[in-house]
């Protein structure tokens, strides 16, 4: 309804917006955002990632573009493209800092102002998917992001957890956040679920097992699958490599591909 407002035209060409959330830190939100973007690109989609983790942005490094800068054009900020085809575009506070180690010591209002700018002033162009990577919690960044994106094509949220009770507990609270803000839950991903020793194939559940699936059942939301702990995945994130392309035989591959497929299926159903 508010789409007509002039300042919002920058998102007019974006077909679906989805948030990656978790109450818990370090469960793999940025990893899932990155891998989902790469997987969707492999299916021929144009994807953007908006990184609203302002104190600890990971997205630039996960695409190995941490030295890029954002430029200004007539319609706002030009996002950083990860390749020449411009198939994935990124916006992160990481691109705005003078020195990479600068701490962003900002209280809420300042974070909120930047998030509003990320929503209003980035020239995303035509995108099939805009993925929003968030910090852990249910505070300023989350409230501001949901408020700013509400008038747009907000598809819903993917919730990420590890199997452990300490993580599942925080994600329960995140589900309440989704309910209160009217955000649809597209599903729960259980990440870091089991580790298969590359030497002897023994599986150890370092961060336990099954907690995410149980939570999905308990909350009555879709379960998108278990992603195992996979050193090739963390290594890929470190080097900004395309995991899905480089390690099709690794244990995390089928799980990640399956998550992307479910998102694609969900949106094609919606549009048909």
């Amino acid at each position: 309804m508010e789409e007509a407002a002039g300042e919002r035209t920058n998102l007019a060409g974006v077909r679906h917006i989805l948030l990656v959330l978790s109450g818990k830190g370090g469960v793999g939100k940025s990893t899932i955002s990155t891998q989902l973007a790469l997987a969707l690109r492999h299916s021929g989609r144009r994807v953007g990632i908006m990184d609203v983790d302002l104190c600890g942005p990971s997205i630039p490094r996960m695409f190995q573009v941490q030295d890029s800068d954002v430029h200004q054009c007539d319609s706002g900020w030009v996002p950083v493209y990860v390749d020449q085809d411009k198939s994935i575009s990124l916006m992160s506070i990481g691109f705005l800092l003078e020195k990479p180690d600068d701490a962003v010591v900002w209280r809420g209002p300042k974070k909120n102002a930047l998030i509003k700018q990320f929503v209003a002033d980035v020239a995303w162009g035509d995108l099939d998917f805009l993925i929003v990577d968030t910090p852990p919690g249910t505070s300023d960044e989350h409230i501001s992001t949901v408020e700013a994106l509400r008038p747009h094509k907000l598809l819903g949220a993917i919730l990420v957890t590890t199997p452990q009770a300490v993580s599942v507990g925080d994600v329960r609270r995140e589900l309440t956040f989704c309910k209160k803000t009217g955000l649809r839950v597209l599903g729960i991903v259980e990440n870091m679920s089991g580790f298969v020793c590359p030497h002897c194939s023994e599986c150890t559940n370092i961060f336990s097992k099954g907690g995410g699936e149980e939570l999905a059942k308990h909350a009555g939301v879709p379960f998108l699958g278990c992603v195992p702990l996979d050193p090739q995945l963390s290594q890929s994130s470190e080097e900004g490599r395309d995991f899905i392309q480089d390690f099709p035989k690794s244990p995390a591959f089928p799980a990640l591909a399956h998550i992307a497929q479910q998102i694609l299926d969900g949106t094609s159903q919606q549009s048909s």
């Binding site: 370090g26 020793c197 963390s234």
Partner: protein
């Protein structure tokens, strides 16, 4: 570039704990100016209230990390257990992760409620000499979300320090959420009423974590919080079957060791991945007493001892002129 963000560049920000907060030239036009100049920084009356409440706290240690999920809460809980093993010492554990409190579960105190006494809120006690406070004790159900913006979180942190009847405390351990934002600024400001020994920084070995941790160390320098040292957690995993080690979170840029050398801070130790740590967290048990023979336990114990030594050396709190 950051100018376009509607505020000054972060580097020019005097930091909300400085006397210049909200008043410096760089503060003009910053959406935080009002907060910094007035509300957020405690006024002298508040500081004196905080000071009288915290007078009986001998040592304060903050547990910080720029990165989420690296083991801050696990470490805070074990540090508290480790220090409280000495029955002569009184230990307080304060959880200021308002949106994602883990401490109640890790300390086996889930479902506990805070009680009000004549002298304020009473902490929840695990042992006679180990008291805990967390927003988790104020929620009525495990599904309750604390959907709060900064100012409300700051208000609660102030209450935790001012209105909790901590009593005589040898060590106050503060567990924090990841980042360098409201909670961190506020706790540092409020604790300026007392003596803070310093911060223990937790990281994991990979660059994705270290890049955030370097920011956290810069934050410490900015707000003049001494860095006691860095703990590298989840540092390698030894398969229980074949005993071979895997680097699940690979130290692609040299891990915490290299970072500590570059930034000239101490590395307090490395703790390996051990599935029993996660189990103990979930069950609310102390891993140190559940798995005394684990290499992770001896590593934790060494680190705790180094922190204790650090605190002993910094024994005499200088009288602060505020």
């Amino acid at each position: 570039m950051a100018e376009a963000a509607g505020g000054p560049q972060p580097e020019d920000c005097p930091g909300s704990s400085s006397a210049q907060a909200g008043r410096a030239a760089a503060c003009q036009g910053c959406p935080n100016q009002g907060l910094c100049a007035a509300g957020a920084a405690p006024d002298p009356a508040e500081l004196s209230e905080l000071r009288s409440r915290l007078r009986a706290v001998k040592h304060t240690v903050l547990v910080l990390s720029g990165k989420g999920g690296v083991g801050k809460s696990t470490f805070s809980a074990l540090l508290a257990h480790g220090l409280a093993a000495d029955e002569a010492k009184q230990v307080a554990l304060l959880d200021i992760d308002i949106c994602g409190p883990s401490i109640p579960k890790m300390m086996g105190l889930e479902g506990e409620q805070v009680h009000q006494s004549g002298s304020g809120w009473s902490p929840v006690y695990v042992e006679e000499n180990l008291g805990v406070m967390s927003v988790g004790f104020l929620l009525s159900s495990p599904d309750d979300a604390v959907i709060w913006r900064g100012p409300k979180k700051n208000g609660l942190i102030k209450q935790f320090l001012r209105d909790v009847d901590w009593g005589e405390v040898d060590y106050l351990i503060v567990d924090t959420p990841p980042g360098t934002s409201d909670e961190h600024l506020s706790v540092v400001q409020y604790l300026s009423a007392t003596h803070v020994d310093g911060a223990v920084i937790i990281t994991t070995p990979q660059e994705v974590a270290l890049q955030d941790v370097r920011k956290e160390i810069n934050f410490c320098h900015k707000v003049k919080l001494p860095v006691i040292g860095v703990v590298e957690n989840m540092s390698g995993f030894v398969c229980p079957k074949c005993k071979k080690e895997s680097q699940i979170f690979p130290p692609t840029t040299g891990g915490a060791e290299k970072m500590c050398q570059n930034l000239n801070v101490s590395l307090l130790g490395k703790v390996p991945l051990d599935p029993r740590i996660g189990k103990c967290c979930d069950k609310g048990q102390s891993f140190l007493s559940e798995a005394p023979e684990s290499p992770a336990t001896s590593s934790y114990r060494n680190i705790i001892q180094r922190i204790q030594e650090y605190c002993d050396q910094h024994h005499l709190p200088e009288e602060k002129i505020v």
